[in-house]
């Protein structure tokens, strides 16, 4: 499934669900949480995480207890607010699509 345009929403929503997590853990949570539907090229999640961090929506730090260098990401209050806004937009969008798809076919004479 092409996730372009929705990746930020999915990353933020997954981070809220998992709490602090590293990139690989986030991707696994996203894949498992969606029942395998969101199986994206895993490398694409890192630019998204970097962009969200630049925008203040997430923050990250090296995990000192990990056996090797591992970056752990967490949601910030800015990210919580961004997630709420994106969630509202998505709900409205999905409602519109559902309404459109469910409209009965108009028969013209």
């Amino acid at each position: 499934m092409d996730l372009r345009g929705h990746l930020d929403l999915l990353v933020l929503a997954t981070l809220r669900r998992t709490g602090p997590v590293h990139g690989y853990g986030l991707i696994v949570a996203m894949r498992d949480g969606s029942g395998g539907v969101f199986d994206l090229p895993e490398g694409t999640v890192y630019p998204a995480l970097h962009r969200l961090e630049r925008d203040g929506a997430v923050e990250s730090a090296w995990d000192a207890e990990a056996p090797r260098r591992r970056r752990v990401y967490r949601l910030t209050p800015v990210g919580e607010a961004a997630l709420a806004a994106k969630q509202t937009q998505w709900t409205e969008f999905a409602k519109g699509v559902r309404t459109l798809l469910n409209r009965p076919r108009t028969v013209t004479a």
Binding site: G23, Y24, I27, E42, G43, T44, Y46, P47, R54
Partner: protein, 257 residues
């Protein structure tokens, strides 16, 4: 956890990513470390699932995807033009607003100096300036109580200096208020749009200090040579610039504390 195969799929993929991130410094090292950790974890998952090391590495690399778009996006996030254009826009707005506000302050100081030392001190024409009868009549129409044409002209110029500069100051205040409201209610207030405080404060302070010393110095020299041409205006500009420089320095020091 096993090490990647020497020269195997994971190592080759990391080498490729390293090449594509060349020149990105800390960002590149961080991305490479994240990719390394990611590929090792995915490989370990594959091995735990019963695959051989080579097959697990191949699967891990395939799942990670092409390095080209990843590296390009990482570069765009950290080095794209928007990274500096957005804070530069807000910084320019702040600098412009504060600059206009300083002009307004110089107008208020010109008003004060005019009351203390007379309109001629603020906005008197150079000695020896002559006025046409028509121009003189214009000045007297607005200032009938002036003792002579030069005094009426000074009153007129003083009003222009004060009114014009105060109007500019009000414009600056409005610009800053609009920015404050926009930052409080929109993405303009988010971190990517926020310039480093020193990046705004240092150029502003230097510009104000240079203007302050320059105009104050000119007005002091004028007083020394008994040159009355706009001496009060120059003095007001210099003092207002020095006050603005002190304000900007104080603002940046408070922020660092």
């Amino acid at each position: 956890m096993t090490e990647p195969l020497p020269g195997g799929p994971v190592e080759r993929h990391l080498d490729d990513l390293f090449d594509r991130l060349a020149g990105t410094g800390t960002v590149g090292r961080r991305t490479l470390a994240e990719a390394d950790d990611h590929l090792r974890a995915t490989t370990a998952e594959g091995v735990a699932g019963g695959h051989g090391q080579l097959a697990a590495e191949q699967a891990a690399v395939a799942r990670f995807g092409d390095n080209g778009p990843t590296a390009a996006e990482i570069k765009a996030v950290h080095y794209g033009p928007w990274v500096w254009l957005r804070p530069a826009f807000v910084g320019g707005w702040v600098a412009g607003g504060v600059g206009l506000l300083a002009v307004g302050l110089s107008g208020l100081l010109a008003e004060l100096l005019g009351h203390l030392y007379g309109p001629a001190f603020v906005a008197g024409d150079a000695p020896g300036v002559t006025y046409t009868a028509e121009r003189c009549a214009d000045y007297f129409e607005y200032f009938p109580n002036a003792t002579n044409c030069a005094a009426a002209a000074a009153e007129h110029h003083w009003g222009e200096v004060v009114t014009g500069r105060v109007a500019v100051g009000v414009l600056g205040l409005l610009a800053l208020l609009v920015l404050w409201a926009a930052r409080a209610t929109s993405r303009l207030g988010s971190r990517p749009w926020t310039p480093p405080r020193l990046a705004v404060a240092v150029p502003l302070a230097v510009a104000f200090l240079a203007a302050g010393l320059g105009f104050t110095g000119i007005s002091v020299m004028q007083l020394g040579f008994h040159d009355t041409d706009m001496v009060g205006t120059n003095l007001a500009t210099g003092v207002a610039s020095l006050i603005a420089a002190a304000f900007v320095v104080g603002w940046s020091v408070r922020a660092r504390a």
